[in-house]
Symmetry: C2
Subunit: 193 residues, 2 copies
DNA sequence: TTGCTTTCTTGCCAAATGACAAGAACTAAC
DNA sequence: GTTAGTTCTTGTCATTTGGCAAGAAAGCAA
């Protein structure tokens, strides 16, 4: 197994040296997830901190009426896990599903903590992941308040076009906070321009 | 100066021993913030990690039209700082203002990091703060998508009634993602029931 | 190919919310 | 008390979005 892309990812954060990156990456185990399989199901405790190397994933929760609400999309070199469940060891309200065949590298809560304790560099990296996630979540919350659905659509289209190549409009709609019906209309208006 | 409440707060997390809590608290400096003064102004780098002992604060950002959007309220024993700016040492997009006279305990980025490195217990505590903030932010985002403004109003009223005793309806409105006009109508409808 | 299922679009109408403006209620300054 | 400023409410009307149902389009399996 070649974990070069994980090493590269750790190293490119500028928080982890090449040497340390190799040590860290050695603790991760390869993980394949078939299309439609789950990395995490609601009700379970998230115990996998995944570096996604290839494929496409979607995180979603259920609202009170039982509808699926997409909370995030993941692809390419990114860290995939459910922060709250993973770190507080509580049942997740979210699901994380591979919508395309995925390949990546995984580490358990216990091993992650051991690494955090023994390698200050990796600790910094871990904090960086959390802080970045926090910032993008806050941006998303703010956009839900200050922007119209059409503005959010346009922003997603230009900043993360990849999502439109891999996710269904239904999933994108709930991520944007509208019904699929509304998204369809928004797209119609938008393409006119 | 009596930092007993900070020690108690650290200790009550169950992550920090009494002994360690005292050591940690000793590094914090007392901080008073007069009414209407800012703990953080947008454009500045947040360098204060504050334990708020008493008073009331509001965090807000500006949208593209220049309107103020309240992003959070703080009171009683809670940690107040802007995660992204503080940890990535970048300019904040947010303001944090005391809307009532405040008193608390403060630590700089540099000192916080020193403590994180030297005291694993405090590191765990710090992670806990981040993770809790993450979870509540995600909850908020989800509620913006799945609930009506009235449902969000009711939830805030029952889970954080204190906010209604200290914040103006205008500030609460933007926190809930509606105009003050709409909030006024929602309150009218709600009190009918 | 045929039939089945899912996704996406469209029309119609209702509900939620916003924009704007006016007025009422409250507060602070002098 | 008077004045000025702010907050909150209310009315009118427009816009955005949702709910529902029907149909079109696309994908999949037998």
């Amino acid at each position: 197994m070649n974990n070069q892309s994980l090493i590269q990812f750790l190293n490119s954060s500028n928080l982890v040296s090449e040497q340390a990156a190799q040590e860290i990456a050695a603790v991760f185990l390869p993980k394949e997830i078939a299309k439609d399989k789950f990395l995490l199901k609601e009700g379970r405790v998230c115990d996998e901190y995944l570096f996604l190397e290839a494929g496409f994933m979607r995180a979603f929760a259920h609202d009170t009426e039982g509808r699926e609400i997409t909370t995030d999309f993941y692809f390419g070199s990114s860290i995939v896990f459910e922060v709250s469940s993973f770190f507080t060891r509580t049942e997740s309200h979210e699901n994380i599903q591979a919508t395309e065949p995925c390949m990546g590298w995984c580490i358990s809560y216990e091993k992650l903590n051991m690494l955090f304790h023994s390698m200050p560099e990796f600790r910094e990296f871990g904090r960086g992941v959390l802080v970045k996630g926090f910032a993008s979540l806050k941006k998303r919350t703010l956009s839900m308040i200050t922007e119209t659905a059409e503005q959010r659509y346009e922003a997603l289209l230009t900043t993360k076009p990849k999502i439109f190549q891999h996710a269904s409009l239904k999933h994108i709609a709930s991520y944007l906070g509208v019904t699929d019906t509304s998204l369809s209309r928004i797209r119609k208006e938008y393409t006119k321009k």
